[in-house]
């Protein structure tokens, strides 16, 4: 309670923070300050190699395909530094905001996905060398490139002429996602004729990553050219892509981890011919082409115009099956706990088998092949042609891919002008357009000869309806082969025009600004197949959903003196919902949630900053409220034998807290730093859940979720770190940092917080009520990290008249090998309402991911 009071007083007294321009490519000198630069590069490397995780193994959205290293950092803000870097292994999110509240721009162009709001970091993964020039703004302060989001705003400048003239060759070794990385980069700088070129390529790979059964195979390339046109104009073109394939981890319950004897148990692989084969493979290849034009109209006015086109595909694979036993080795009906209550002897027998026999815990690929080969099936009216009979080995198991094919066009123009000595004006317009095609594709028939595009769930529910079980009524009984589309297939089209303007006033003692933005988001679904259950709502164009949004923000900074600042910023905005939170079951139909509206967001921040040569301090507080959010959760329910969708609305969220960071020189060459983030993130409304299943139009139930004051999960709400760094004048440094995390919660299953879920529980204070209702809290955790680096100038060696440098850096995270840090997971959405026994309450226990134990990253780079 006292802590809370403190927190409140902090908020009331201080109010939030200041964003800083963290890195200025024009002034930064790589050779003069090697330690800082090495440290920053090291951080990039570490974050680049953070594991790709899936939010849920049933997760059908493509957000899960993304690498979630959400905040690459460069900065001198003592708090932001720690938050973006030291806290990242625990998946700390600044102010608790999810990834949709962070915006990323390249050359002023918005890059965030229009369909889910997340930043597609993977598009430029491995291109660290050329994605180094950036401006990071944190909080609601103004930026010079966009109105921005309420979280962090980052703008990369990837133009060839802005890359330092240099050639570098690097190799890195790690035991995380990938084992080896090679990067080659060559930047020419601007030559006398006004040309600049930049190339970079990298290869990242691992036969097996930290987690058993995972692997990594990534390539990246980047090519850019700039041409200066006269004194005032610069035309730039850049193209890049990071085609990557990686075998992924799937979350698991504690029971399986105990049987496997490891927190890193991964159910997504199995042996095939003696090799580990992973079923959960993410592939992405989405090149981006970018054209930028900068026009310095005068000394006081600059116009930056850019357009980009991006296209390609991402996919996630998984085993799909038709009227066959569940192939997942961790399916709950296969486990000892399923038998424990009724037949303990059998449970013990299963425990023995599963704990001693690794292959029993993994996918049995051979069995899938055998089943596909052992059964001959006759299909009548194949492909909808009467009398067309096919008899062959039908695949009961296949490896399917959920594919997102992206086509995206973005254009923006931004003007920055100095109206007078005291007034800067900035404004811009942008237009974004995305056409995403979501479909399923057969990756492998696993020994069978064909697959039939039928919906087995509908077949079970409507055995006598001749049309219901067709995935595509326009092509009934379609026989599909490897590489063919099957299952769902729909497009989402999104258009978003935006306009913004901002005025910044700068005076001796006080700076202030106001900014405003208007935008419109328009999206609709186009079905490419006619689903047998929803023939009139699945094929063709749906209704167009339009959201008009506005945003306004402003702030004041009071300069006590050149080193001490007080500031306060606030913003008021509305935000259109993302399509995947609106369409109840876009795979089968175009139904949307009721009473669509934009989310209303209010935020205020304030704080104090000290920026002295020997000490840097930041104390800040924030308070953010969000109202009327939407969400759709989907999972497979084997009692309904169907995908169940929870359409949630009336989601209100509240975030408040304080942030503190200090960095001080404590002795010659020794710097100490400390940071703390203390926040409280709540859901503060009773959400409404409408439960539907994919295979009927019926509403299964409509529930009020007693979700008030449940915690927002996915991040520690409190994080602390302290560290010490020694920087030698001989161009090397070492640092040691300790971190502590607490107030970590697991995302809750809404249906467990309903009136019906507590049916039969008469005493709200009883242990049983607590078991059902309490949100799962995770244990507090600590880590200890070491970093070091050395930059060596090879004497008397010049290449192309440039000095030769050898740079070595190393990071060892989690020195104490703490393997108990849960970084993610979820309460299973399935809930057994017949919760008459304790056994049933624990039938669907939470699933977790654990952070890596001791892990390292060592890199060596040669530059000239």
């Amino acid at each position: 309670m006292r802590k809370l009071l403190l927190l409140f007083s902090c908020i009331v007294l201080c109010k939030v923070m200041q964003a800083q321009k963290y890195f200025n490519p024009d002034t930064a000198d790589f050779t003069e300050r090697p330690d800082t630069i090495i440290a920053e590069e090291l951080k990039d490397n570490v974050l680049d190699n953070i594991p790709t995780i899936s939010l849920s193994d049933e997760d059908l959205s493509d957000a899960a395909a993304q690498n979630i290293s959400s905040q690459l950092t460069a900065g001198r803000d003592p708090f932001y530094n720690a938050a973006a870097f030291n806290f990242s292994p625990a998946r700390f999110r600044i102010r608790g905001y999810d990834g949709t509240f962070a915006a990323v721009y390249i050359n002023g162009l918005p890059m965030d996905n229009l369909d889910d709001g997340y930043t597609p970091w993977g598009l430029w993964g491995g291109l660290n060398d050329v994605f180094r020039n950036r401006e990071v703004n944190f909080g609601n302060r103004y930026t010079t490139f966009a109105f921005g989001d309420v979280g962090t705003n980052t703008n990369f400048d990837i133009r060839a002429s802005k890359q330092r003239k240099q050639t570098s060759i690097g190799y890195a070794l790690s035991n995380r996602n990938y084992t080896h990385r090679i990067i080659l980069t060559h930047n020419t700088g601007l030559n006398k004729r006004g040309w600049a070129f930049s190339f970079s390529g990298s290869r990242r790979y691992a036969d097996e990553g930290y987690i058993p059964g995972t692997y990594y195979n990534g390539w990246s390339w980047f090519a850019a050219v700039d041409k200066k046109l006269g004194q005032k104009q610069l035309l730039s073109f850049a193209a890049f892509a990071a085609p990557t394939e990686n075998g992924r981890q799937t979350s698991a319950t504690q029971e399986m981890m105990t049987l496997a004897g490891s927190h890193y148990y991964n159910p997504s692989w199995g042996y095939q011919n003696g090799k580990k084969r992973n079923a959960n493979v993410a592939k992405t290849n989405q090149p981006v082409l970018l054209l930028t034009h900068e026009y310095r109209i005068s000394n006081k006015t600059a116009l930056l115009t850019a357009a980009s086109y991006s296209f390609g595909e991402r996919s996630i694979s998984g085993i799909d099956w038709y009227n066959a036993p569940d192939p997942r080795p961790n399916y709950y009906r296969y486990l000892p706990s399923f038998y424990a209550a009724d037949n303990s002897a059998l449970a013990q027998q299963l425990t023995d088998v599963l704990s001693t026999n690794e292959s029993a815990r993994q996918i049995n690929w051979n069995n899938l092949y055998n089943v596909n080969r052992d059964n001959t099936t006759t299909v009548d009216n194949a492909n909808g042609i009467a009398g067309n009979v096919i008899t062959d080995n039908r695949s009961f198991y296949i490896l399917g891919e959920r594919v997102t094919n992206v086509q995206r066009f973005t254009a923006s123009t931004t003007i920055n002008a100095k109206l007078s000595e005291h007034i800067d004006i900035t404004g811009g317009i942008s237009y974004q357009l995305a056409r995403n095609n979501y479909f399923q594709r057969i990756a492998d028939l696993l020994g069978g000869q064909f697959w039939i595009d039928l919906n087995q769930f509908a077949q079970r529910n409507f055995p006598n309806n001749v049309n219901a079980y067709q995935n595509d009524l326009n092509h009934p009984n379609r026989i599909v082969y490897k590489g063919d589309q099957y299952g769902y297939n729909y497009n989402i089209n999104i258009n978003k025009p935006q306009e913004w303007a901002q005025l910044v006033f700068k005076f001796r003692k006080i700076d202030f600004f106001v900014a405003g933005e208007v935008s419109q988001t328009k999206f609709w679904r186009v079905g490419n197949v006619r689903n047998g259950l929803f023939p009139n709502n699945s094929y063709g164009k749906s209704e167009v959903h339009i959201f008009d949004n506005y945003a306004a923000k402003g702030g004041v900074t009071y300069k006590i003196n050149g080193r001490n600042y007080l500031y306060i910023n606030g913003a008021l905005l509305t935000r259109a919902p993302y399509y995947d939170n609106i369409y109840v079951s876009p795979r089968t139909r175009d139904f949307v949630q009721d009473s669509l509206q934009s989310e209303a967001i209010k935020t205020i921040e304030g704080g104090y900053v000290l920026n002295a040569p020997n000490v840097k301090v930041r104390i800040s507080g924030y308070y953010t409220s969000m109202k009327n959010g939407f969400n759709v959760l989907t999972f497979y329910h084997d009692q309904y034998q169907d995908f169940v969708n929870y359409a949630l609305s009336h989601i209100d969220r509240l975030y408040f807290g304080g942030e503190f960071g200090i960095e001080a020189k404590v002795a010659r060459n020794v710097t100490a730093n400390a940071a703390a983030a203390i926040g409280r993130y709540y859901y503060n409304s009773r959400q409404k859940a409408t439960v539907t299943v994919d295979n009927t139009a019926d509403i299964v139930s409509e529930d009020e979720i007693y979700s008030k004051n449940y915690r927002i999960a996915g991040t520690p709400q409190e994080a602390y770190s302290g560290g010490i760094t020694y920087r030698s004048p001989k161009f090397w440094f070492v640092s040691l940092t300790g971190n502590y995390f607490s107030q970590m919660w697991l995302d809750f299953n809404p249906l467990r917080r309903t009136y019906v879920a507590t049916d039969g529980v008469t005493d709200v204070g009883s242990e049983k009520a607590h078991t059902i209702l309490d949100q799962t809290r995770l244990d507090n955790q600590y880590t200890l990290d070491f970093y070091g680096g050395y930059s060596w100038r090879v004497k008397h060696t010049y290449i192309d008249k440039r000095a030769l440098y050898v740079v070595i850096n190393a990071g060892v995270n989690n020195l104490l090998n703490n393997t108990d840090i849960i970084t993610g997971g979820y309460e299973q959405l399935r809930y057994d309402f017949s919760a008459s026994s304790e056994q049933n309450l624990s039938r669907f226990p939470p699933k977790y991911y654990y952070a890596y134990g001791l892990n390292y990253f060592i890199s060596l780079q040669v530059r000239f």
């Binding site: 390529g201 390339w221 011919n273 036993p325 009724d342 059998l346 009216n381 067709q470």
Partner: protein, 664 residues
């Protein structure tokens, strides 16, 4: 020179970059595992020997290294068996209980299975002996868990033929244990007459059912099927022939009486296509049956139809659109049915078509029987056209009484009167001396906007149910014999004929009876909707014409004038204005004229606030400080204000002009 070098370097790097991208596209493929080769195992005991040691009603654990081998004769492929496979060797058969679904994928019929018995248990259920793992508290063996399958069950060769034993009912009854869980065949059997209309089980409620089969000598046997079986909803075949099945008797726990039963694996096990015992020839597969026979197949739940054809004459009229899109109504003798094809139906009344209903569904669609064809089914070409179907004369009560039989057949109702709205559209009421029925016309029917005839007529059409409510539909306007098509230009009812919005309280409204008969004023209301409200708030804004005027009826061609209570202009001689607060309008308010609660004329658009005034005949101030008169050619109300305002009114550019009130 230097530039050249740089360019070369650039080109080299670009090449590397391109190579990167090319290399990624050649991913290594996984080796395909080799084809499964069964291990070399031999059984060291027989199923009969294993069963012989079992004590009835007792779960025994098996602790010897005994191995039995059997061939799968039944599995869960069709869902009739659940969580078990039945294996048989040359001596006997036994069930193996396995706690998993879709066992057929690994244990197809004809696969040899070796069971390593050590660690398993044996027990019986109603006398039938089965294998499983340790018993639960009730002594019932738990199925072998999925993860332990491979420990106990070794898969052997595939495609081993099993020949069912040809038996008689007496054989089975005399040696229940010998035949239990073995494949048998009964020859020259047929479904008992009382069961021929049944489906195998209840697919909707998922409940099991028994079908009795018999031979010509009268020996009977029960075929038991699960409601979860894929074929549960299929109608049983009605011929005579052979029946292959697994013998599963049931022994009562109370009196040990044995009920012999058999279970089929799939419908192919019932080869009943021959002539029945009495000499009746059942419809062969693909044979034409009557719609009456087809309708008789419906047993209360939706079924999938077998290989039959039906023939019928089209009695629905696609052109006039009073039939749901994609549907056609067929009549064959004294029975009819609706067929749903989807898409566009182009059949004309009198087309004769033959429809292959194999694989179609026979369903209850909102209370009436419908054949639903698979999407995209080709619509058969008519074999003949212009075949007349003569409607059967009926009273409304007779139609309703027999509707479940005679739905979708053509009937004629004589001397019936329609009432309800002015037009056909929607549900109206048709009444004759015997009773009434809903007269339904689709709003998209070609004649939906035509006026209902006021007098008694003869009506031809067909009945059906709509969610248990009987309804009657005509196909087109010529189905109403003696009824003139009422022209929408013929005056028929009251309308608003003049509107005066003068100074202060001087507001008047004139109503005209354009109909040919006296209007019963108790049926009419005028209502005021102020300032864009979409509700006429309170009694003040609504007036029933008889109470406001104090007269019961309005003669044809007569007029009524209403005003505010404080109106003070001098009206033409003899004209009386009846005061009502409905006249408290000021230019931006809407007025409606309703008959029986249905709006028949409007002045203004309810729910819309035009600002200060309605725009009439292009004049944006027409409804304020003006007099507006309905053109004399207008003899019918118009509920579409947009078209009315544009075409039907004359605006008098003068304030307080009441010279035309009471005159038309």
């Amino acid at each position: 020179m230097k530039t050249k070098k740089t360019l070369l370097l650039n080109a080299a790097i670009l090449l590397i970059v391109i190579t990167f991208n090319v290399v990624i596209s050649c991913n290594k493929k996984f080796d395909t595992p080799p084809i499964y080769i069964p291990p070399n195992i031999t059984a060291n005991t027989t199923i009969a020997a294993l069963k012989a040691v079992h004590t009835s009603g007792h779960a025994d654990s098996i602790e010897t290294d005994a191995i039995i081998a059997g061939v799968v004769i039944a599995n869960d492929s069709s869902g009739n068996f659940y969580k078990q496979i039945i294996i048989q060797d040359s001596t006997a058969g036994i069930a193996v209980s396995i706690d998993d679904n879709n066992l057929y994928t690994s244990f197809p019929i004809g696969r040899k299975v070796y069971v390593q018995l050590n660690g398993l248990y044996i027990n019986d259920d109603g006398g039938l002996i089965y294998l499983g793992t340790s018993p639960d508290a009730g002594g019932r063996l738990t199925g072998i868990p999925s993860r332990l399958k491979d420990k106990y069950l070794i898969k052997g060769e595939l495609h081993i033929p099993i020949i069912p034993a040809d038996v008689t009912v007496q054989d089975l009854k005399s040696d229940n244990d010998k035949y239990a869980y073995t494949l048998i065949r009964l020859n020259n059997f047929e479904v008992k007459t009382t069961d021929t209309a049944k489906t195998y089980a209840n697919a909707v409620n998922k409940t099991d059912a028994s079908i009795t089969v018999k031979n010509c000598a009268g020996d009977t046997m029960v075929v038991r099927s699960s409601g979860y079986a894929a074929f549960a909803g299929i109608n049983v075949p009605n011929g005579n022939g052979s029946l292959t099945a697994v013998y599963v008797y049931y022994k009562s726990a109370y009196n040990s009486r044995i009920t012999p039963q058999i279970m089929i694996r799939d419908t192919a096990d019932m080869q009943f296509a021959g002539t029945r015992c009495g000499g009746n020839v059942p419809p062969a597969n693909g044979a034409l049956i009557s719609i009456k026979e087809l309708r008789a197949m419906y047993n209360g739940s939706d079924i999938k139809l077998g290989a039959y054809k039906i023939g019928g004459v089209v009695i629905s009229d696609a052109d006039n659109k009073n039939v749901s899109n994609g549907s056609v109504v067929l009549q064959d003798g004294d029975r009819g049915i609706s067929v749903y094809f989807g898409g566009t139906v182009t059949y004309n009344i009198g087309d004769s078509i033959v429809l292959d209903v194999n694989n179609d569904s026979l369903i209850n669609y909102r209370g009436s029987l419908e054949i639903k064809t698979p999407y995209g089914t080709a619509k058969p070409t008519a074999v003949a056209t212009g075949i007349p179907v003569f409607p059967k004369e009926t009273t409304i009560q007779q139609l309703k009484d027999s509707l479940s039989n005679v739905e979708f057949t053509l009937v004629k109702i004589k001397g019936a009167t329609a009432s309800g709205s002015t037009t056909y559209s929607g549900s109206q009421m048709l009444t004759d001396a015997s009773g009434n029925i809903t007269l339904y016309t689709s709003p998209s029917a070609a004649f939906a906007g035509s006026n209902l005839p006021g007098s008694a007529n003869d009506w031809t059409g067909y009945g059906s149910f709509y969610n248990a409510t009987p309804q009657f539909q005509i196909r087109n306007i010529s189905d109403v014999a003696g009824a003139m098509v009422v022209s929408p230009t013929g005056g028929s009812d009251l309308l608003i004929s003049e509107y005066v919005e003068g100074s202060s309280n001087n507001k008047y409204l004139e109503i005209y009876n354009a109909g040919a008969a006296a209007a019963d004023l108790s049926k009419y209301h005028i209502k005021l909707y102020t300032n864009g409200h979409d509700a006429a708030h309170g009694a003040d804004n609504s007036g029933r014409l008889d109470s406001v005027s104090g007269t019961a009826s309005l003669a044809p061609g007569a007029l009524l004038v209403f005003s505010t209570t404080a109106a003070s202009l001098t009206l033409p001689a003899g004209v009386v204005a009846y005061p009502t607060s409905v006249c408290n309008f000021n230019g931006n308010d809407a007025i409606t004229l309703e008959k029986n609660g249905v709006v028949i004329d409007v002045f203004g658009d309810v729910g819309t606030d035009p600002g200060t005034s309605w725009t009439i005949a292009g004049n944006s101030k027409a409804a304020t400080d003006k007099t507006v008169r309905r053109k004399t050619g207008i003899i019918q109300g118009n509920t579409d204000w947009t078209s009315s305002a544009a075409n039907e009114w004359i605006v008098i550019i003068s304030i307080n002009d009441v010279s035309d009130l009471g005159i038309r």
